[in-house]
């Protein structure tokens, strides 16, 4: 793990590329009538310490792309570099790559296999040769991060859980491996709002405080607006946009055309502008909207006197 020095303020001061793909092409079921080119000459590099979100319509190639980052899929052409090393060159141990680049799959049920939740999460750290105590610590820490109560869930079968509980176990299993790069393919799909919030905050903390590089695939515009430093938009096997969330979400119409959208709060500001109100539109979080609207709305409420709280009053 990189020293704390680099992570002051949660941002890398010296950015070195940790994952790079160059000219990546991938076709499923090549040579059959069902052949489908899922990636078309994708080039992308991710610097150490970034928190990148990948968005794109269903089938646009997001999962295919991230499965190349740790060598789960092999490109038809093009290259994948992890820490500058071409992972498909002779002599590179994919095992090491996968330990460095941990991937939480989109469908967690595919990732569960042990008899109990605890042994499932312990699988990777145990394989890495950690002592029993260290394995136990890693399991408890990972369960804390995904908010699964140890006493309640450790001995339960991972197959006899609700959908959201299974997902938490799968995420914990990868976190317990303590990889350098954490790739999460729709980690919060199927999670309740509190679970989403907690898991995203924990991921943010792993990034800010422990220097993890994070790649997050998500269909939630609200979540990526709040948590990502950088947004990569996939469309039909290609990268269509790449930039700061605030800039990307200014391109609402193009995003909708691509099956996507903007956070609801950004939509509100656009609607206000359409109705002729003069407020900023480059707003992507509730707090920003509140700040932008408050002065004029307070002034307008002035004469209204004591105000009710029909919304049950207040923030979090």
């Amino acid at each position: 793990m990189t020293s704390g020095l680099f992570w002051a303020g949660g941002r890398a001061e010296v950015s070195s590329t940790v994952i790079e793909v160059r000219n990546l092409c991938h076709t499923y079921m090549r040579g059959t009538p069902l052949a489908r080119q899922a990636l078309k000459h994708v080039t992308l590099s991710i610097a150490e310490g970034e928190l990148v979100a990948i968005i794109g319509r269903t089938g646009s190639g997001k999962s295919t792309l991230v499965q190349h980052f740790n060598g789960l899929l092999r490109p038809d052409s093009g290259h994948v570099f992890v820490d500058g090393k071409d992972i498909w060159q002779k002599g590179v141990a994919l095992r090491d790559i996968r330990r460095k680049v941990g991937l939480v799959f989109q469908y967690p049920e595919h990732q569960l296999f042990e008899e109990s939740v605890a042994s499932d999460i312990a699988f990777a750290p145990r394989n890495m040769g950690l002592s029993d105590n260290a394995v136990d610590d890693a399991v408890r820490e990972a369960m804390r991060i995904v908010d699964l109560d140890y006493d309640e869930f450790a001995e339960r079968s991972p197959f006899e859980l609700s959908g959201g509980q299974k997902r938490r176990v799968a995420i914990a299993g990868v976190i317990a491996m303590r990889p350098k790069v954490l790739i999460l393919d729709e980690p919060t799909a199927g999670m309740d709002p509190r679970g989403r919030e907690d898991v995203l905050r924990e991921i943010q903390a792993l990034h800010d405080e422990h220097g993890y590089t994070v790649v997050l695939v998500s269909h939630s515009m609200e979540d990526v607006a709040r948590f990502a430093n950088r947004l990569v938009v996939m469309e039909d096997g290609r990268i269509a946009m790449d930039g700061r969330p605030r800039d990307v979400f200014q391109r609402r119409d193009e995003l909708v055309e691509m099956g996507l959208g903007v956070p609801q709060i950004t939509d509100l500001m656009a609607e206000l502008a359409r109705r002729g109100h003069n407020f900023p539109t480059d707003v992507i979080t509730v707090d920003e909207a509140s700040e932008a609207l408050l002065p004029s709305l307070l002034a307008a409420s002035g004469m209204a006197g004591e105000s009710d709280s029909p919304c049950g009053g207040g923030g979090r």
């Binding site: 319509r57 959908g163 996507l260 609607e271 509730v286 709305l297 029909p310 009053g313």
Partner: protein
């Protein structure tokens, strides 16, 4: 009027193998009325899927009864009838496809029922029209977007002529436009076709369009009411691990800071209307301006 589904004091415990039983439902009572759009929300493990599976006899109660019209789900002789009356759609669009073309996929259910070919054709065409997928009959399902796949899955259920469709997180895997398409489809099925919809979701901004919102907690119904009744209680919802839509959260923050808003807005349109009213510009201003 008779309820389509009547859940009466139902408790259900999963047999946890060698471990203790897991009490997933505790004395739940609920009626689903014809043409009603009911959203079910609740934390992970609160019992939503378990409740859903009781509505078409995939599970039967440990205690209590579930009636689909007059048919008790405990009575095995009704199972086929019940499954035609109450159809299910699940989370993962890819796991629900059974055929290599869209029309074969939609025809699968009625074929299994022994419906005659002419009638099957009619039902397939009608079902695809209802989910806005006319023109895709010969398409391969795996080439469709996630939202389209889910609409084909819904068409497959509609072809069985159900009175109620239970959707267990049908939008969890979809992109924003796909979510909108599915939501629009189920709203229309309820309002125009009179099909009852039970829509389980973790997206609060889908639940706001329901006629009624049911909030589950630890196997019980913790709260139920109109969307406005439910979503104007953010503190209670957060205690139940839930949330409110972003515009509602914003309205709450503004009200707390002294802004006079007269109701609790649930959608972008409502919030924009309320802000317009407050600033002395009516909701229709944009129409006056455009063109």
């Amino acid at each position: 009027m008779k309820p389509v589904v009547h859940v009466e004091n139902v408790s259900y415990a999963y047999d946890g193998g060698n471990q203790e039983q897991v009490e997933a439902l505790l004395d739940v009572s609920l009626k689903i009325w014809p043409g009603e759009f009911v959203a079910v929300i609740g934390h992970n493990g609160s019992g939503k899927s378990t409740l859903a599976k009781h509505m078409n006899a995939l599970l039967v109660p440990t205690r209590g009864n579930v009636y689909v019209f007059e048919m008790n789900t405990q009575d095995e002789s009704w199972v086929w009838e019940i499954r035609q009356t109450v159809g299910m759609v699940f989370q993962n669009p890819d796991n629900q496809i059974v055929a290599t073309t869209v029309e074969e996929d939609v025809a699968f259910g009625p074929e299994n029922l022994g419906v005659e070919p002419g009638e099957i054709r009619r039902r397939v065409d009608e079902a695809l029209a209802l989910v806005d997928m006319t023109g895709y009959e010969k398409s391969a399902p795996h080439m469709l977007s996630g939202g389209q796949k889910q609409r084909v899955a819904i068409a497959g259920v509609i072809a069985m002529r159900p009175r109620c469709i239970v959707l267990d997180e049908p939008t969890a895997m979809l992109d924003p436009v796909g979510r909108t398409e599915v939501l629009r489809t189920v709203r229309r099925l309820a309002s125009d076709e009179g099909i009852s919809i039970v829509h389980i979701t973790h997206f609060m901004n889908e639940a706001v369009y329901a006629d009624r919102v049911i909030v589950m907690e630890e196997g019980r119904i913790a709260l139920s009411g109109t969307p406005r009744e439910v979503f104007s209680q953010p503190a209670t919802l957060r205690k139940l691990d839930l949330d409110v839509p972003q515009v509602t959260e914003l309205a709450g923050q503004l009200q707390a800071a002294g802004v006079a808003l007269s109701r609790c807005p649930l959608t972008v349109e409502e919030m924009a209307d309320d802000i317009g009213t407050l600033l002395g510009r009516g909701p229709c201003r944009s129409e006056l301006h455009s063109h």
